[in-house]
Symmetry: C2
Subunit: 328 residues, 2 copies
């Protein structure tokens, strides 16, 4: 069976079934009329020949593309070397696989968002998933892809979004810290341009203001390294800090690493929280208190929305739960 055959075309199937290509096409596509007899014969012929429609031909005639683009905004191409992006890509690819659609990733420079236009000019791109978006970027989504673009994180009037409630999740974390008696709470934030990370920062600020407490912020990114550096800076500027809210688990782990190296007890002296609930969060020492972040689910939902070409609702929020462990 696995001979050096050339893959069967629709013509082959039609010939084998003794019908015209049109009829075969109708049966395979499942639309239009076809007698039960014809249907049956085409089906078996297709089965025997191991017929699989050529997606390129289909895409060509339909005028649709052949892959989804995952566009990641950031200051440099290194954003693509990121487990978050990897997860989004993985989940997207899984959703696309049964449809014979491929996936590509590319980077959109923060300082040159118009590159998105170049990327989407490609007729091969039939859908768009935006990651780490800024409002400016959303404006650049070409009309052709309206309704076939979904943003993970912040959305706009024309581009629907799917995410968790970052603000709410961060509030839960800060409240937990407060309930544990912490008052001098610092935060290691995300990159300032990242709208959805800012929702966390806003939540932190709001809660602190409501409690009449001053904020203590250090800018980070989502990396372990920045977490380490940020911890040092926090301690230098506010030595009496008793809690640090990390924008991600990696950040928190970096913070904890630094703190322990400096002989600071976690959570004894300083409580530390993460965000994401990565698998490792449960086995680190101390185990991380964090907020769950179902990245795969989010990305799957986004990809499904793109494929099904349905944009309502404009804003989908997945639940995020506070995961209490030992670090705070």
């Amino acid at each position: 069976m696995t001979t050096a055959r050339r893959p069967a075309t629709l013509d082959d199937v039609a010939r084998a079934a003794g019908v015209s290509r049109s009829t075969a096409s109708r049966v395979i596509a499942g639309n239009g009329f076809a007698s039960p007899t014809a249907r049956e014969r085409v089906r078996t012929a297709a089965d025997e020949l191991g017929y699989v429609p050529n997606p390129a031909a289909r895409a060509l005639v339909h005028g649709t593309g052949v892959r989804l683009l995952v566009a990641v905004a950031g200051t440099d191409p290194a954003v693509l070397d990121d487990s978050y992006v990897d997860q989004v890509l993985g989940a997207t690819a899984r959703v696309c696989a049964p449809h014979g659609l491929g996936v590509t990733v590319d980077w959109v420079p923060l300082h040159a968002p118009e590159r998105l236009v170049r990327l989407t000019d490609d007729r091969g791109v039939t859908g768009l998933i935006l990651v780490n978006t800024t409002p400016a970027l959303l404006e650049l989504v070409p009309r052709r892809l309206r309704g076939r673009a979904v943003s993970i994180g912040v959305g706009s009037a024309t581009v629907p979004s799917v995410d968790i409630d970052n603000g709410g999740a961060t509030e839960a974390i800060v409240r937990h810290l407060y309930a544990g008696g912490r008052r001098r709470i610092a935060m290691v934030t995300g990159p300032p341009w990242l709208t959805c990370a800012n929702r966390s920062v806003d939540a932190y600020r709001g809660l602190m203001r409501d409690a009449g407490l001053p904020t203590r912020e250090v800018v980070g990114d989502f990396s372990v390294e920045r977490g380490r550096a940020a911890a040092r800076e926090v301690l230098r500027r506010w030595p009496d800090t008793d809690a640090i809210v990390g924008i991600s688990d990696a950040t928190a782990l970096g913070v904890i690493g630094r703190l322990r190296a400096d002989g600071v007890q976690v959570p004894g002296d300083v409580a530390v929280t993460g965000f994401d609930d990565i698998p490792l969060a449960a086995v680190t020492a101390p185990a991380l208190t964090t907020a769950s972040h179902p990245v795969r689910q989010i990305a799957s939902a986004a990809a499904t929305m793109v494929l099904e070409h349905r944009h309502a609702p404009m804003c989908t929020r997945f639940p995020s739960a506070l995961v209490r462990r030992d670090s705070a």
Copy 2:
């Protein structure tokens, strides 16, 4: 410029440049004759119109596909929810992006490898990257894709492979443990069917035999959870164990988590090593002694080999270095 235009076709470019479609095609493709004048005019016309070739049309006429398939073997579809697979996918997608090629992932059941044939019957698949392969699976790579298939891990006579020297890396780890005075060394292995994980196990066995020491093996997978369970089993069966070699960093972290929960000192009582050198390995407590595993580089190399359609050399090995930290 970002009007509701229909993307430019080659005909549009040709018309704008005042040449025939054939000439325009030759200029764009960069093969065949074309006068400098024609070349220039087509180039500027294409630029102005923002012309991007339609990959579906190209694929159709070339008879090539439109995406790479990353096929992951495993006992269940959950293998796709794995950071290793995600990284392979991410790196592959990055390599493919400039070529207008998409990427798909799919799962090949260990108990039904023939599903690979179904997956590769799709004319859209123009290249294949195999992950977690078994020799049986490699036999099923269709002739059409010979020379366009690369295995990450173990290869065969017809399918080239790229990986690190698992055996050598594991030897370095075990030697390090031995040099540190450890003699009762246990190993948490990978799934037994996974050939490249077995290379590590073989290295461990070989070294232990040479040293006249008995082996202590517990079967794991690459997960944190199995690491925890395996640690408990090791301690139950061989309470005097003084070192545990994990098949992955996640495994090692699971082991350490369990050990600490039982009040066992790491590395005081039991030394633990990982494998992969994930970013977090440096900030865990204790920081993980492990072997580096440049997954992204490996996957990039594999993808490049597929795209360039060059199979020699049949076996590419990336270097892996022992990373000495605190856990062993």
